[in-house]
């Protein structure tokens, strides 16, 4: 039905386009001078039909289904939901939904069948209503657009105004996405904090996100202290940066100062390939090659290396960050004006002295910005740690141990079926909120540094 609504819309837009073009041509053939070209009259009609009805259909899709679900839930017999948790309510609604789509398991209670029939009825009514509303709307809009066709009508300004607003909306859409992220995370997080005190989350030293299956279970209360989880992320990110920063910076210095043009033309694309490898590939590399190698090396050295040691995840993440840091540093070094380099060389400085005493200090803001962005990526990186890091949160900074990470916890808590009513699921959103705030802070700082620095030499 939704497809039908879209087809009606596009056909109507085409009809409006042709009608207005015909009408405008008739006026022109009648000897009058049109203000706008014939095509603009057609375009105006098409846009007037297309834009509002398109938005109407999207809003309808977004609102109709939740509304129907709520109506059906409200129409259930009195007291059905009394004393039930949200999980149980969702289960009932899911059963009614699957009944409505024709999948029957066992013999459901009669009131469920009734509700399913009501659900089917509502959705059919909604579908028909949508088509009727769309037909009426497009007819009215075509008629309106057709009436605008006169010699004086400024169709170009009209259609260009609509296009401009559309493009402006696309630009503002980015803000919508950010706002949606903040709201979605904040909403679920506030639900979490109504179940678990915020102080426990922020300062607790114990992370055992579980929920009791029975009320009298031993250790029924899960523990939601996020500090060990963040400590794990800190350990892994530190390992990654200890590897990535020196190698990345040295690569950039070599590329910028010593490499011949030909060497650059080989090394640059190679680094681009390295940065284009998906992180899941790095994650698999970590468990396939790096972790076993670290373990056996550790065994020969007499060290006890955990099978999912932070070194494996951090080391591979470091490799991933090398091209990131080197390209930022390379850009920053290349942006230092030639006059500084020439001046230093003319004073008799060697190339390394020029680099280390003149170019590098001048490029420091850009390099720091790049490194900060790398830090934010290391904190937010998911697949490498999901595959190569551990699951259990430990209060340790020993990189040979198995540690977990924020993103690992988010993914493992949310994989599989999720109900939005228990602290276990919601804690993932609280972690996500923290992650978002931290990375956003670092990004804003880094982008500001990079931007400000560019202005100095431009």
């Amino acid at each position: 039905m939704i497809l039908l609504a879209f087809i009606i819309l596009f056909v109507a837009a085409a009809i409006g386009y042709v009608m207005n073009i015909r009408a405008a041509q008739a006026i022109r053939d009648g000897g009058a001078t049109l203000h706008s070209l014939v095509g603009f009259h057609g375009m105006f009609s098409a846009l007037v039909v297309l834009v509002p009805v398109f938005i109407l259909i999207l809003v309808w899709i977004a609102l109709a289904d939740p509304l129907i679900q709520r109506l059906v839930a409200a129409s259930l017999p009195e007291g059905t939901f009394d004393g039930l948790g949200t999980g149980a309510i969702q289960l009932i609604m899911a059963e009614i939904n699957s009944l409505a789509s024709g999948r029957v398991f066992g013999t459901p209670e009669p009131w469920k069948i009734e509700a399913a029939e009501r659900l089917v009825g509502y959705s059919r009514t909604a579908d028909i209503a949508l088509v009727i509303v769309v037909v009426i709307a497009v007819a009215a809009l075509i008629a309106f657009a057709r009436r605008t066709v006169t010699a004086e009508f400024r169709a170009r300004q009209g259609s260009e105004g609509i296009i401009l607003r559309l493009m402006g909306f696309c630009a503002i859409f980015a803000i919508f996405v950010t706002v949606a992220i903040v709201f979605a995370l904040a909403y679920e997080t506030s639900k979490f904090f109504s179940m678990v005190p915020i102080t426990e989350f922020l300062f607790g030293l114990n992370w055992e996100p579980q929920i009791p299956i029975r009320a009298d279970q031993i250790a029924a209360e899960g523990a939601f202290g996020a500090i060990p989880v963040f400590l794990g992320t800190f350990v892994i990110a530190s390992v990654a940066l200890i590897i990535a920063i020196p190698i990345g910076l040295m690569t950039a210095i070599y590329l910028n100062e010593f490499a011949s043009r030909r060497a650059r033309s080989v090394i640059k694309p190679f680094l681009e390939i390295l940065s284009g490898v998906p992180t899941i590939v790095y994650g698999f590399f970590a468990i396939l090659v790096v972790a076993p190698w670290l373990r056996s090396t550790g065994a020969t050295l007499g060290l006890d290396v955990a099978s999912n040691t932070a070194l494996a995840a951090g080391g591979v993440m470091g490799i991933m960050l090398i091209p990131f840091i080197s390209s930022f540093a390379d850009d920053a070094l290349a942006a230092v004006p030639q006059s500084l380099r020439d001046g230093a060389l003319a004073l008799g400085a060697t190339r390394s002295e020029t680099m280390l005493n003149v170019l590098f200090p001048a490029a420091i803001p850009g390099i720091v910005g790049g490194v900060l962005l790398a830090v934010s990526r290391a904190i937010g990186e998911t697949m490498i740690v999901v595959m190569a890091a551990g699951l259990i949160a430990r209060m340790t900074i020993n990189p040979l141990d198995s540690v977990t990470a924020v993103t690992v916890q988010i993914v493992t808590l949310l994989i599989g079926d999720t109900a939005f009513d228990n602290p276990k699921t919601l804690s993932a959103f609280a972690l996500g909120m923290m992650l978002f705030i931290i990375t956003l802070g670092i990004n804003v700082l880094a982008l500001r540094i990079v931007r400000k620095y560019r202005e100095i030499y431009d």
Binding site: P66, I247, L271, M383
Partner: protein, 431 residues
């Protein structure tokens, strides 16, 4: 550094270009040291990259061929009556054919062990043939079916025959049978097209990437349909029309930040808004594509703005000078000239989206699904999530499948990036 003896005034320091004083040598050494460190850094990066690809190819190449067994199967009417199709005792029919190949097998006691040599799916190959042509019942047909994972590994040499029998997945007796089959010429190792044409399966020898490829295709298509026009629209507005004020500044900062938000946060957004609030279907490529579109849009916007900026102002001025409106200038002159750059950026953004895993995991695209999705609203996996599933599977055969799947994914990525680089060099103009 010698003071002149008479006056006490220091003599001017004597330096010539050919001087070999220790200070200069030390400074030159520092030069060499820095250069050496740079080379070491690059070599480390090269070495790791080589190791990465070498290990993937080493473990993955075996999955591109599959060990098959050719059998003469007698379709016994007693086991497979016509009226019961498509049901019937196909397992027995196939096992009988195996026993016929192996004269040394004692029918009753070793039947189960012989059955293990064949893939669990072997009976379905026979079934499909018979269902397609019921007149085969009562005849003997020659059919080639996959071997089970353990014997596939044995034949490819992944299982070492020298390890003690107790630690091996196949015992000595089974190895003996296998060698009999090899000697009889029943074993072949053709190219493994089922890696592409089969959907996922619990059995490594039957598992393929079809479902994942289809799912990735739908998700990328949705992503492109949304992100491409929206991204270009936003970029044109910001670059050509937006007034230079605080709002435009804020939007720009926002887009740059959005490009750096961790992908898992987009997954959380999709889970909370698309699935939980809007009630969209779980595991559907449509939702995956929507999420990827949100992530790809900033990339496309940034690339498009750079491409628009590269078009020289003279083009705009010339078009304005002959009476074009501002939008006519943009859509008829600037945008076509900027298109190669825009498409390059878009392809690179889509390549990133193809490799993205974390947000797809959160919306459930890691489900176990044994058929390819026929619409973007059906449950499906995607290439990277399929890799994740296989990497988590304990069977030995899935290790090489995972590597092979990664090689397939990397092939796609290299192909896409290759197109982007080609377009950049071929069509991009410099003014």
């Amino acid at each position: 550094m010698v003071d002149s003896p008479n006056t006490g005034i220091p003599a001017p320091h004597q330096i010539s270009l050919t001087d070999r004083s220790p200070a200069i040598a030390r400074r030159k050494r520092k030069d060499v040291l820095l250069q050496g460190l740079g080379l070491v850094a690059i070599s480390i990066a090269f070495a790791v990259m080589f190791l990465l690809f070498a290990s993937l190819i080493r473990t993955g190449h075996t999955a591109f061929v599959q060990t098959h067994i050719t059998l003469d199967v007698f379709i016994d009417p007693a086991e497979v009556p016509v009226e019961n199709l498509p049901r019937g005792g196909f397992q027995n029919v196939v096992t009988n054919a195996m026993i016929a190949k192996l004269p040394s097998v004692d029918d009753d006691s070793e039947r189960r062990a012989v059955q293990q040599i064949l893939s669990n799916g072997a009976q379905f190959y026979v079934r499909d043939r018979v269902v397609a042509d019921p007149s085969l019942i009562g005849q003997t047909i020659s059919i080639t079916v996959p071997a089970s994972d353990a014997f596939d590994q044995l034949h490819k040499g992944s299982i070492n025959r020298d390890t003690p029998e107790a630690l091996r997945r196949v015992n000595d007796q089974a190895v003996g049978w296998w060698d009999e089959l090899v000697d009889a010429g029943a074993i072949s190792k053709p190219l493994n097209f089922s890696l592409i044409t089969n959907a996922d399966s619990r059995f490594p020898e039957l598992a393929g990437l079809r479902g994942a490829l289809v799912g990735s295709f739908w998700a990328l298509l949705i992503c492109f349909i949304i992100a491409f026009p929206a991204g270009i629209g936003a970029a044109i507005y910001l670059e050509e029309f937006a007034p230079k004020n605080k709002v435009s500044d804020f939007i720009e900062v926002n887009i740059n930040n959005l490009a750096a938000v961790p992908s898992v946060v987009f997954g959380l957004l999709a889970l909370a808004v698309f699935l939980n609030y809007l009630g969209m279907p779980r595991s559907a490529p449509f939702v995956g594509g929507l999420t990827l579109a949100l992530m790809t849009m900033p990339t496309i916007i940034i690339a498009t703005r750079a491409a628009l900026k590269a078009v020289p102002p003279s083009i705009r001025e010339a078009a304005l000078g002959v009476g074009a409106s501002k939008q006519q200038v943009v859509f008829q002159h600037v945008l076509p000239l900027a298109m190669p750059g825009i498409l390059t950026g878009t392809i690179i953004g889509l390549a990133q989206a193809l490799g993205e895993t974390a947000p797809l995991l959160l919306i459930g695209m890691n489900a176990f699904i044994t058929s390819a999705a026929s619409s973007p609203f059906e449950a499906a996996t995607a290439l990277p999530t399929q890799i994740f599933i296989w990497a988590d599977s304990p069977e030995r055969g899935f290790v090489s499948r995972t590597s092979a799947a990664i090689l397939v994914l990397l092939t796609f990525l290299i192909f896409m990036n290759g197109i982007a680089i080609y377009m950049r060099s071929k069509f991009e103009r410099r003014w």
